[in-house]
Subunit: 262 residues, 2 copies
Amino acid sequence: MAGVEDTAVRAKQIPEAAVARLAVYLRVLSGMAEQGATTVSSEELSGSAGVNSAKLRKDLSYLGSYGTRGVGYEVQVLVSQIERILGLTRQHRVAVIGIGNLGHALANYGGFPGRGFPVEALFDTDPDLVGIPVGGIPVSHLEDIPRICSEREISVGIIATPPTAAQSVCDRLVAGGVQCILNFAPVVLQVPAHVEVRKVDLAVELQILSFHVARRADRAGEAPENRGTPGLPDAGLPIDNGGTGDGRNSAGTDGGLGMVVR
Amino acid sequence: MAGVEDTAVRAKQIPEAAVARLAVYLRVLSGMAEQGATTVSSEELSGSAGVNSAKLRKDLSYLGSYGTRGVGYEVQVLVSQIERILGLTRQHRVAVIGIGNLGHALANYGGFPGRGFPVEALFDTDPDLVGIPVGGIPVSHLEDIPRICSEREISVGIIATPPTAAQSVCDRLVAGGVQCILNFAPVVLQVPAHVEVRKVDLAVELQILSFHVARRADRAGEAPENRGTPGLPDAGLPIDNGGTGDGRNSAGTDGGLGMVVR
DNA sequence: GAGTGTGAAACGCTTCACAGCA
DNA sequence: TGCTGTGAAGCGTTTCACACTC
């Protein structure tokens, strides 16, 4: 597989972490361009993007050398180069599966970020929804996922169903030729190697935050800087973990964020 | 800051990456417990969580030694230990700011994942919304964020507003004593050091996926396995961890999902 | 002088492989 | 025998510091 001959040799294998940041730089740069800026320094751009300048320069260096020493970078040039690397010069048709609260929000975008991610198909199981247009696109049934995705050349699937439905939806997306999946359901999806999955998990995010609060509380012994408001350590009630049972969730209808609660 | 700080006295300093996975293990374990499982091996648990067993064992070792050689781990014990480490034994009151599509979805949870994250306040600027209850809680005006958060002892703020409002909302949350912020708006927030921020950015996620598709297309020169009709190697095995309640989420549109578009 | 581009050091996370205990 | 717990090796990412260019 070596092949590397593609584009001029430059496939240097950009670190995954850098790819995520490039997307952020792109947004900041677009904002700057809109306000008329034509050049930026690494210091300036990194400040707005929330990283340090060394990291920013390293990241940009993966694109090639597009800066001018003593001056900075040309905003337009960076925008184009980042779009090129991220593959944003072509369209990626999107399908949203699970038209609950979250799915609705996604479908209503109409067309995603600037350019590049038009929503072209919606799916749900609910008979009351099938056939009805949401954000201009009629909702289809889950069973038609393979056919429709194939016909419309969908390349990205966004799963916003309850967790129990997620794997089967995923399988159908794969059968329909979808290569990328953004999964909002709290389940670890099983996919063939050629499919890329990214997961967004609200519960996990909240729990990570919780961890940090807890850590902070521990070492709060003598934190000098406090913010005026009291705060109260709030001892916290134990939530009786004993029971554990929590069971919840079942599949709802609303295909929504994954938690079911009700 | 280079300083050594009080070198870890008690805290073994669990790697950030491990913390995120612990939350996943917790969900899987809760599901197993619900189905009556009392013990698991690292092989089993890691399989369901989508990681390899060595990593799982290493992660669990940060909690202490709770396994039994030759046997495995007791599900209940792991659940309790992970909850302890993640600080889930106490409540973290949540406020949602920006009641658009996404905000609504979040507010309607009613109470978050299983236990621990009750939504106690909602905010928006829209006069038509202020005063109206959503998911049982009346919407308040952004101006009251500091007072209300302080009164209700909110510790987590979820920002689901349009990007332009995000920083000012953030400042008010900080003024109200909020320590953790989950940001759905596509902006890099500026916060004091004692506040923890996590960001969920739909646009970035899609662009990362786009990058991978592009890379893949490049080296598709002679990929033997193509997707013809992918038949799927059958991925499906039962994961069924589904059950546990937790949740998920994300994105919002109007409120912010983040992409700006032009 | 100002600011980029980058090798090399430092750091943190992951993987390996095996000792140790039930 | 079976599986956990963990030191140590391996790797990817971040940071440093400075040569180089405008």
